[in-house]
Symmetry: C2
Subunit: 558 residues, 2 copies
């Protein structure tokens, strides 16, 4: 057995409370190296009297190098001491906190410890998120419902999107098309920023408490939220708290008054005055964008302001949560306070962080409910579209991600195939709709919450920003209705079957050099077999139907 | 190269801010498998323009299976993208967040990310702790300075300690012997609980805001703290916040009024009424101790009460920090609030958790400054006293612990060889003073803050509780003065030389089956060589003196 491959360290994705009574324990071994892993566990204060219990662990997933083993325990007194027994064909070893042993260690004090399952520490994402199908709207480009509030230089709907032009999209336009979203079947909307800001993307906020006048008013936003809620659609806003815009009044004050400004500590100023020297601002910014000064979220006044923003839109306007822009560049302490305020305003509010990387430090229950799952985006596109990843490589990354976070985080991962920050899915696919559909089927049949970027469902194309921010196509004759029906059908399938939203995941087939993959999702007595082929040659995959008495082809061809 | 052995996951001990400008990056490889590791790093927003930089990593420690590599970077814009290049005799591979590669990966987006060094998240233990030498006092057994407040049934000083007897130790007794502590040289005291409680150990609090009347008054405590401070001695109190005592008024109220009590939610009640059924209380407790009901630290009133306790003793009485009893069974959310309150009361206050196990989740800067380093206790005793660990096994565990936490946590680890919860050191040593001295030399020459359990320095003996809680011996003719001089000399040596408190650690020699070990501690132009031999046969260890121009034997024999 390869001892160097075996990994367990308490907390994070390795030992955590799944709910108020269940503890999940996981351990990693070299792939195909170990045939059986046993979890040895007991109560630390009665182990010496009652002794330990033993349960088999199961492989929940595997990646290129490792198998991931999992077990769950509901300890009577919410405390757990535990260790592992590993068996291979000709070797048996034990692991406790002291390391490896050739025989079962006796001293229970030296086993791993899950000290106490405190409810306050249980990571509990809102229950509705598992059932959500999101639709992302870039407001300036979705629909123009009120030309009277268009920007002065607004261009005719449908023109070429450029970095700085406007087309007059607004809140009334969205209200006017909610029937369309209902027909499509989505039940949640993620809005790019809506607050007052000079650009078309509005990531450079002037006033966090005010809807941009070209989009509408706060009252109009409340009307929109209520119209959504009456249709069973949740509303997620974009919180750009890492940085403000260059015209944010406190920033203008610091620009003018320097160190004397009462807002001087609201930003991270390296040197006064605020200016750009050799393309580098004298203050911290998002990237090197002079008009996006980084907010000092350690400052008590900044915290008070932003936390009031967080509360206001939930309590007064009724939105259902926040998507946090550049979330990983803001301090953890601020996000913990943010979570307290948001969950106090609405315990079922959803907090989604924009993080493109490994996100474990934000997914322990004290900060975010989920992150934008870009690593999965890459895996799907590499496999289904670019063919730079074969079936085995695809399945390996899915397997890795499946075990990389606590289960409740994996269940609500925000799965997207494109956004305002990437080229359009159909464009990435070289306008090959078959590949687009394949990628989308994967997105909708893996665990995690899928999100459709506005217009993908009717065939919008476009390269990276600004191309991906085209006006929505409302002329049905120019919409790809076949694609629309495909999305609507897939959305319905997912909504109708809990196995697809909340079922177990089991990889059934993947081989190096082969583009076919098969996996299953199962919940209660319903089991879905998903067989994919990203290659151009036919493939036959034989999978065992298990205890199924009958089957039905629900999507695609068999 | 063994890929399965290579481990890096951002945060925790693998990538963290050491101070407001320095980021530490670490990676693990199979022991003796890799000859060179290079850190490739750059700013994520200018990498594509400026490119990356490369620096060599160093092995900071090794254990049974692994080498631990370390590098530090001070990125201009406090952001870091990074990856690793590993070289062995005949193999070169690269690692980024996507996994291993046969050539240097180009896409910097796929490298590891340290998103932003936010000062709020920097783990900063109080600076004085590195320089502290603690002395632990079990108050009932240290000195009786005021017989007028003895418990009614107090026995004559020096009698046999039993689970429930009293000898009259008090605060005045401690004040009377501060000159003794100054002579010994310690500069910090950790007190076992002082608050009103029925037992002699006082871990079953009645009133957290009141000194036990048999110990003195709150005014007397203030006098003690001031007397300590005037001698340069810090004071650490014991916070028993996991559970109260059985006579804590809110608990008595719940016992009497059950679910109707206004304190019903102050505890974790599984079933009313509160009673013990078949030796198991119907409410959560410490272990199964019916008179130690677990406090519900999620309850806002409980939080308010305990946080006021935390503030009161620091702000009103002047104590310098808290040692937290059964710290790992209390929720993380509570400890984060606790840290905020404590650091607001005194930014230099010290928070020390009682955790016997791996403590990474509490040592990220948001909860504790240090934990009681029992794993090191085991390593030292196994090696120096019990000889169940050879030199290599000892050095391996020290090496593991050295890399297991952020450097600032390792620097202030609370290193103890015994306490009120273990047999006395001299007793563990079978009263072999040579072994006791060897163990103590290790304790005082490794990084971390040493703590002497009262009386160890004059030869007190005793088995596990109650034996280890004997009355302090104040008759000099009965004190082991040789041992006292040994401790005083060792304490002075550590206080005089920053290399021993704050120097780098370098293992120089350890071999399987051999009881000799040598390591070095170095700071500026001072370097200590520590050569140990726990065996009964002479050993010769040859170490390179490096750039030293002269040397001196400062302790022991050469």
């Amino acid at each position: 057995m390869l001892r160097e491959a075996i990994y367990h360290r308490p907390k994070n994705n390795w030992s955590y409370a799944y709910d108020r009574e269940t503890i999940h324990i996981r351990v990693r071994t070299k792939r195909d190296d170990v045939v059986k892993v046993t979890l040895i566990h007991g109560d630390k204060y009665s182990w010496s009297v009652i002794g330990s219990q033993k349960i088999d662990m199961n492989v929940i997933s595997r990646d290129h190098l490792f198998d991931y083993w999992h077990a769950e325990v509901k300890p009577t007194f919410r405390r757990l001491k535990y260790g592992f027994k590993f068996q291979s064909a000709n070797d048996t070893i034990w692991l406790n906190e002291q390391g490896f042993h050739e025989s079962e260690p006796e001293n229970q004090n030296l086993y791993f410890d899950f000290p106490f399952l405190n409810p306050a520490d249980v990571f509990t994402p809102p229950s509705w998120v598992k059932d959500a199908i999101f639709y992302q709207i870039f407001p300036e480009r979705f629909a123009n419902g009120d030309p009277s509030i268009d920007p002065e230089d607004a261009e005719p709907w449908g023109g070429e999107p450029k970095p700085h032009n406007f087309f007059g999209g607004d809140l009334q336009g969205i209200i006017d098309h909610l029937d369309y979203l209902t027909e499509l079947g989505v039940n949640a909307i993620y809005f790019n920023p809506l607050f007052e800001a000079p650009t078309n993307h509005k990531y450079d906020t002037i006033d966090y408490l005010k809807i941009d006048p070209h989009f509408g008013t706060n009252e109009k936003m409340k009307e929109l939220v209520e119209a959504c809620h009456s249709r069973g659609i949740k509303v997620l806003l974009d919180a750009v708290f890492n940085h403000s815009g260059g015209r944010f009044p406190p920033f203008l004050d610091v620009k003018e008054n320097g160190a004397e400004s009462r807002y001087a500590d609201w930003f991270h100023v390296r040197e006064f005055p605020l200016e750009v020297r050799d393309r580098v601002p004298t203050y911290d910014t998002f990237a090197f964008e002079a008009h996006m000064p980084k907010l000092n979220t350690e400052n008590a006044e900044v915290q008070q302001y932003l936390l009031e923003v967080a509360r206001y839109w939930i309590e007064e306007i009724g939105v259902d949560g926040w998507r946090l822009d550049v979330a990983n560049e803001v301090d953890h302490r601020f996000w913990r306070k943010f979570r307290d305020v948001v969950k106090a305003a609405n315990p079922e509010a959803y907090i989604l962080g924009e993080i493109w990387h490994d996100s474990q430090p934000w997914l322990a229950g004290d900060q975010f409910d989920a992150v934008m799952n870009y690593p999965l985006t890459d895996a799907i596109l590499d496999y289904a579209v670019k063919e730079t990843r074969d079936g085995r490589q695809f399945a390996d990354l899915v397997g890795y991600l499946h075990a990389a976070y606590p289960q409740q985080a994996a269940e609500v991962a925000f799965n997207l195939l494109g956004s305002h920050d990437t080229p359009r899915l159909l464009t990435i696919c070289g306008e090959d709709k078959r590949r687009m559909k394949l990628a989308t089927v994967i997105q909708f049949t893996l665990s995690g919450t899928p999100c459709v970027y506005y217009g993908d469902e009717v065939g919008l194309t476009g390269e990276h920003d600004p191309g991906c921010r085209k006006c929505m196509e409302w002329d049905e004759s120019k919409q790809d209705r076949d694609l629309f029906r495909f999305f609507a059908e897939l959305i319905k399938l997912r909504k109708d079957h809990r196995a697809l939203r909340d079922g177990t995941y089991e990889l059934l087939y993947s081989e190096s050099g082969i583009q076919a993959v098969a996996f299953a999702r199962e919940y209660d007595c319903e089991k879905f077999f998903i067989a994919l082929n990203a290659g151009n040659v036919d493939a036959t995959v034989v999978v065992a139907a298990g205890k199924a008495s009958s089957y039905e082809v629900v999507f695609g061809e068999a």
